[in-house]
Symmetry: C2
Subunit: 394 residues, 2 copies
DNA sequence: TCTCCTGGTCGAATCGATTCGAGGCATGCC
DNA sequence: GGCATGCCTCGAATCGATTCGACCAGGAGA
């Protein structure tokens, strides 16, 4: 039994008694056509149940698929669970949608995969541009594969690659502002909970050696921003931007240490170290067995977290430990998420324009398609003071 | 300056000294070919920087785009913010990915839109199947448009449409189980916070009249499941599945009412009403001015929420009101989300297999493509008792 | 030695639309 | 009345690959 195939433009033209080219004109609207003829064609189309030109034919001819591949780093589920990702994706999809472009979801895969295999879609799917949303590492199989195919790429939050548009926020500026705020409040013992430095899945105390291994661009910038103002008394690397990780980090940084004022130790507390080419390795990193939380044996009075979820976890940990926020401990986040379940607390946080970031990614993709020169866009951030920061305890 | 276009299969064949058809064979692997010839073709391809057949040509020929359109109801941002959506989407994308299919994200639009316009992608994008993830209403412009185009459709969580595969969970069974659990604990004054009944954005007390207007399928089933076991003493309709809405609903249901045992009023408290064709309108709906929370003027001892986020909001509201959970108030949710920030509480909740639901949607789409008969799949749910339910207060 | 078979290669048709240049017809102007 | 001018319409080429049947050569079997 032959299944009746969908009618084609040719059949419609035939029924309408016109040529295929005329019928095409009737639909595309490009080129002159008598309203009468057009009407006859549309009438014939309706009669045959023809719902417009087959996208496949049109795409082949035009060489454009109207599809933007969006490569979601890591696992899809994890990417989507990240509340930071949502507005970005939303801004991206909206902006592209306004220009008639669709978003094809492509799962990325962890970079350090030995087989360097990428999702088959990257090799075979039709797309006019690709957007790598969560940045690319030093060497990225996905990026390479796309280049090989000749698919233009837009990078979100990653390292700069010559000739490739890049969209990011001013990460360093953001963490620097947070630290500055804390310094102004009199804090000197500032600890830090960082975003992952790479895709290794590692978590735990962050020492100088590890610091040199940072691969993810936003993390690197946020680390730099902090260190542009102060050398943290302790730093803890999270495995991912998750509440649980923030809690674990804060517990590690805070637990079992007496509160108190800066020890009169050899190290000048909270010395503001301007970032620069300081001797690496000269840094007195804590030894293996040493308490990670505090080189001087005393509790930090503030925690700078690289993300709001990490900060939220830190806040919960503080509550668990019976610490008052901000009286005993100040906490800053990064992202500017709305986290009503932290009520009555509102995070002091560096707000980044997430939806605008998505929109900027979309515009970059569109510009690329239009043949414009690739640009590097850096969006501004803004520290918004909430209820989780206050004067340093005396 | 003529931009050098990407090399085509024809150029590769030419360079390799074979015919186009042979070159095609070398890539597709279909049909017999000498390893030697194949090697020559691949060599030529490498030399030209040819990264495999152009998807557009292949797709036109095969009539398949390898793309599954996933229509996300409402706004994209809202859909993504819903933690229920994430695992479903993840299961869907994974399952489709294993079969080489990509997911094209398509924003749905609110049904009651007067212009009945749909996203242009629905009319013009290439796709082999479409999945309507968040169900379709009684009449749905999106669904109609897809049918007109001849794109086969899979429905997730919606009404049954003959000839269209449907995937859902046993909603009625779920809420019934939750209520049964509460009844077994001795609760008789059970209130309810419901999912939206339609896309109107309405929220507030739910009376009998409104109950008849329910359009969204899962909501209807969950309402039915509750009423199969008990007639709630009060019901509050949320505008969306959000923590804030749950909090508002719970405050409305609980605020300002004295705790206490069932009033010896004319109405038998907690009468278990079996669902059935009871006289509509005979229902003693609360009058306009009446306290919505409680027909007998007393606080409910349990709240059945249609989703975990609503339940979480209710829990926060209870904490705000100084009510102990579960000593003063029991709360049940629906979905089985992991909500660590509710710690130390763990919701008693009806767990639904979210990722499996996504996978089932994917399988349904694949089966449809393979020409198999459309099926209705209903996945089971399971009540998991947490710390938010306990014996009714005496 | 002839025929049959089979594995490998090639030609040509096909998928469904877009687009460019040519041509036809009517109008307007000289 | 003839010619230039537009406005529509049409034919044909094109996008890049897949696939079916034809064809050819070489080996096996009779």
């Amino acid at each position: 039994m032959a299944a009746a195939r969908r009618p084609t433009l040719a059949r419609v033209a035939e029924l309408a008694g016109v040529s295929v080219s005329t019928a095409s004109l009737a639909f595309s609207g490009a080129g002159p056509i008598t309203p009468d003829t057009r009407g006859r064609v549309l009438q014939a189309a309706r009669q045959l149940g023809y719902a417009g030109p087959n996208p496949l034919g049109r795409q082949l001819r035009s060489g454009r698929s109207g599809i933007v591949g969006v490569v979601i780093g890591d696992q899809l589920a994890r990417a989507f669970s990240d509340p930071v990702a949502i507005p970005v994706l939303d801004g991206l999809v909206s902006t592209l949608g306004e220009h008639g472009l669709g978003v094809l979801l492509i799962p990325g895969v962890p970079s350090p995969d030995p087989s360097r295999s990428v999702d088959p879609l990257i090799e075979t799917a039709a797309m006019d541009v690709a957007v790598l949303v969560w940045g690319i590492g030093a060497s990225d199989a996905t990026f390479d594969a796309l280049c090989r195919r000749g698919v233009p790429v837009v990078i979100g939050e990653g390292r700069r690659v010559p000739g490739v548009p890049l969209v990011g926020v001013d990460d360093a500026e953001g963490t620097a502002a947070a630290v500055e705020h804390l310094l102004a409040l009199g804090h000197s013992r500032i600890a830090e909970i960082t975003l992952p430095l790479d895709q290794s899945g590692r978590s735990g105390p962050l020492d100088g050696a590890r610091l040199g291994q940072v691969q993810r661009a936003p993390t690197a910038h946020r680390l730099r921003g902090v260190r542009a103002r102060v050398e943290p008394v302790a730093s803890w690397e999270a495995e991912a931007s998750l509440v649980e990780q923030g809690r674990a980090g804060a517990l590690a940084l805070l637990a079992g240490l007496p509160a108190g004022r800066p020890a009169p130790g050899p190290e000048p507390a909270g010395r503001p170290a301007v970032a620069g080419p300081t001797e690496p390795g000269a840094e007195p990193a804590p030894g293996p067995g040493e308490a990670i939380a505090d080189r001087a044996g005393m509790r930090p009075t503030a925690i700078v977290a690289h993300s709001d979820l990490l900060a939220a976890g830190a806040l919960l940990a503080a509550r668990d430990l019976g610490l008052r926020v901000p009286e005993d401990l100040s906490i800053t986040g990064f992202d500017g998420l709305d986290l009503p379940w932290l009520a009555p607390d509102v995070l002091t946080s560096v707000h980044q324009p997430l939806e605008e970031k998505g929109a900027a990614l979309g515009r970059a993709a569109i510009n690329l398609l239009a043949g414009e020169e690739p640009e590097v866009v850096t969006l501004g951030v803004r520290l918004v003071v909430g209820s989780t920061t206050g004067p340093a305890p005396r």
